[in-house]
Symmetry: C2
Subunit: 242 residues, 2 copies
């Protein structure tokens, strides 16, 4: 069944006018007509079954039928990713949504070539991936900050720092086991640019009390692969895959 | 340093004429000139340092200097992947090379929409990814077979079958630990099409004595994400990331 992320509050019996893009997608692209059902979620009110009540040139109106899943969110996991080239960054955002990251924070490091990106486009990709993967929230895309600036306001969230160069232990060994019955602490996974971190950045990161360095195997990984692998291992070890 | 996969045997002092595409890439795209060094490998003779001895309109000639790494291959791991749409299939092949798969075998299942693909293009992507990731072999791309045909000639290699529907244990729990000091057995990871396996296929797979069903978490993953996540977890648990 088609799932749509909406901004409206969701309550029994309410009507819901879709945004023009969503109305077009539902009726013209996916050929849904009056009486057909979709699922909607807004990140706060769970997932609802809704019926297409009006569909025409002036838009589409849904009638909410019933809540089918209560609101739930996954573990508190951020992906902090250096700005890489557009197509790989878009892949990373899509995959972060599928793999349950709660936020994607963009970072500018010494060896990062770009200094801006189209946040709205990335947010749209995150929303579409959240619709398709079945989650009940949409990862927030956070505008780029320089690494030093980000670290200067860090809130003690634990940081998994994927260190290609050096002797860091494998991710599965580096991540602590969570005590049975307790959820994981808030974590962030930091993935550098394709040129890696500078020696000064590595020293800085390794000295942080909240940081854990870890290795992603013996081969050189592109940034998108490194992000997906690290998110996977975190979810499998500490997150909601266990 | 630039790495090139070549077909020639590699021995000390030998000269090596590059294929026209590689010569163009090295001299025109990457602007390397006579005296510059590259690394070459052929999947059999390890990695060699080579010096550009001639570069001109008629091609490029390398002189082999010395072996810098002896030949080595990673664990015997196949990725068996249903034909999915072209861009995702190309991503999967690139990532399989980075994540150390020895072969990528294509399969046609009941819910697979495609029945052919351009093997040569996929092989070129695998070669380029192998060059960049630093491995000393190139994954072999094996032409598509129907699932039943593939299983009818299966050679008892263990099979990790990623089962979205159902109650399979998480991959990390499903994979056996390898006895210390022993390498892993040969394995294959099977990823179905985005529509999943049919009920008949699932029953068939679950009944195979060499198959292990496992889950990749609570969200719906696209085929490329599922392939990367499963390869990652296998390498982290049984392969050369441990």
């Amino acid at each position: 069944m088609i799932r749509l992320h909406v901004r409206n509050p969701l309550t029994a019996g309410a009507g819901l006018a879709l945004e023009p893009d969503q109305a077009r997608y539902l009726t013209s692209v996916m050929r849904r007509g009056v009486g057909d059902e979709v699922l909607v979620f807004n990140g706060a009110d769970g997932e609802w079954r809704a019926r297409l009540a009006e569909a025409g040139k002036r838009g589409a109106l849904l009638a909410l039928v019933e809540q089918v899943r209560p609101q739930a969110v996954g573990p508190d996991l951020d992906l902090v990713i250096a700005l890489v080239k557009r197509t790989r960054l878009e892949t990373i955002v899509e995959k972060a949504a599928e793999l349950g990251a709660r936020r994607v924070r963009l970072v500018i490091t010494e060896r990062t070539n770009a200094d801006h990106t189209r946040i709205e486009r990335l947010q749209a990709i995150a929303t579409e991936a959240a619709e398709q993967t079945g989650r009940l929230d949409v990862p927030e895309i956070v505008a780029p900050l320089k690494l030093e600036k980000m670290l200067s306001t860090w809130n003690d969230r634990r940081l998994l720092f994927c260190d290609e160069a050096g002797d860091a232990p494998p991710v599965l060994d580096a991540l602590p086991l969570t005590a049975r019955g307790r959820g994981p602490e808030p974590w962030a996974i930091l993935i550098g640019p394709e040129g890696g971190f500078s020696p000064a950045e590595r020293d800085r990161l390794r000295a942080l009390p909240y940081a854990t360095a870890a290795s992603l195997g013996p081969r050189i990984l592109r940034a998108d692969t490194a992000a997906i692998s690290a998110l996977t291992l975190w979810q499998a070890r500490l997150g909601d895959w266990a």
